[in-house]
């Protein structure tokens, strides 16, 4: 029955989506480059189909291609630029500019609190200097640090958009 739940979940996914949608879903969160074979396996499709969609997504700017260390294979990962732009656009769609400025200040204050609590500059430093440090805190800290960068990108993009739209002011 255990296998059944998972097997049904996989077959539902395959029935409800196209190969391209599954390749997209897998690659959009592939932060370390992997081969088309690995993407194909996770996306429940063939390597040939995965490669076709990865190449398309690469032309669209969603995917970054690199060569493997031995230069024998092409590796694929989510384009960091496309992820930052997507996250920034989502933030700008959901909060106003004044609200965003306020939230950035709040997140910066939160990170300062983590630094004071641990006496470390970053989550990695905190883990190195004290093995018994609260791992939950580190997880939240890494999230706040990551989301703060997305929020700052959102603000920069919205300011640049204003400059483009109103070239004679400001």
């Amino acid at each position: 029955m255990a296998d059944e739940v998972l097997r049904d979940a996989v077959s539902d996914w395959v029935e409800e989506t196209t190969p391209r949608e599954r390749v997209h879903s897998v690659i959009e969160r592939t932060y370390d480059a992997v081969s088309a074979d690995e993407i194909a396996e996770r996306a429940e499709t063939t390597a040939k189909t995965a490669r076709k969609h990865l190449e398309e997504l690469s032309r669209e700017g969603v995917v970054t291609k690199t060569a493997s260390p031995d230069r024998k294979a092409t590796l694929y990962k989510r384009s960091p630029t496309s992820l930052v732009i997507e996250e920034a656009a989502r933030i700008n769609d959901s909060v106003s500019k004044p609200e965003l400025i306020e939230r950035i200040a709040e997140l910066e204050a939160e990170i300062e609190t983590y630094r004071e609590q641990t006496g470390a500059d970053s989550p990695d430093d905190a883990a190195l200097q004290d093995e018994s440090v609260d791992k939950e805190l580190l997880f939240e800290w890494r999230g706040t640090a990551r989301n703060l960068r997305f929020a700052k990108a959102a603000l920069a993009i919205s300011q640049a958009e204003n400059a483009v739209e109103q070239p004679n002011t400001g």
Binding site: M1, A2, E4, V5, L6, D8, A9, V10, D12, W13, T17, R22, S25, V26, E28, R29, Y31, R42, L83, E87, I91, S94, V95, L100, R103, L107, S132, D134, K135, E136, L138, F139, E140, R142, G143, T144, A145, R146, N147, L148, A151
Partner: protein, 156 residues
């Protein structure tokens, strides 16, 4: 930290907003009783799936999802009748199971190291896990029972 290290539920990596949005989209599409909500729009760390009914006598329920950039997760069911259970995947120091995937059984999602079980969701793809969790929730809801919450422990 007051909890001993063996009871930590901490995930590697950072909270992954893209994964949480995917989970919400799948669960809301499959489940008419569910409404997803993030703890924070700008700094999303937890997705709360509010269920307008619960298992058995519970009037309401909630599934809290945390998902990391490395595909670790905590998926925590809680309801108004006071039942808790959790499907998790992260490194742990429980004597069993050997896998990162494990299950904290109801009624209180026990963290007693000897009661942690293998999880029937030995999987880390969000598209698959979200569908599997929905199936398990539906089974519990329709059977008014938690006996199949972790199908791994109930072989046919």
């Amino acid at each position: 930290m007051t909890e001993p290290q063996t009871e930590s539920h901490a995930l590697r990596g950072a909270p992954d907003g893209v994964a949480l949005r995917r989970f919400r989209e799948i669960f809301e599409t499959q489940e008419p009783l569910a409404r997803g909500e993030f703890d924070d729009v700008v700094n999303p760390q937890t997705l709360a799936l509010h269920l307008s009914d619960g298992v058995g006598s519970a009037e309401k329920a909630r599934i809290d999802v945390r998902w990391s950039t490395t595909d670790d997760y905590n998926i925590h069911y809680t309801d108004t009748a006071g039942v808790d259970l959790r499907w998790d995947r992260h490194p742990h120091q429980y004597p069993a199971p050997p896998a990162d995937s494990h299950f904290h059984p109801p009624p209180d999602a026990v963290t007693d190291p000897t009661n942690v079980e293998s999880s029937c969701i030995d999987e880390n793809r969000v598209d698959v896990v979200a569908r599997a969790v929905h199936k398990l929730w539906r089974t519990m809801y329709e059977e008014c029972s938690f006996s199949d919450a972790n199908a791994a422990e109930n072989p046919p």
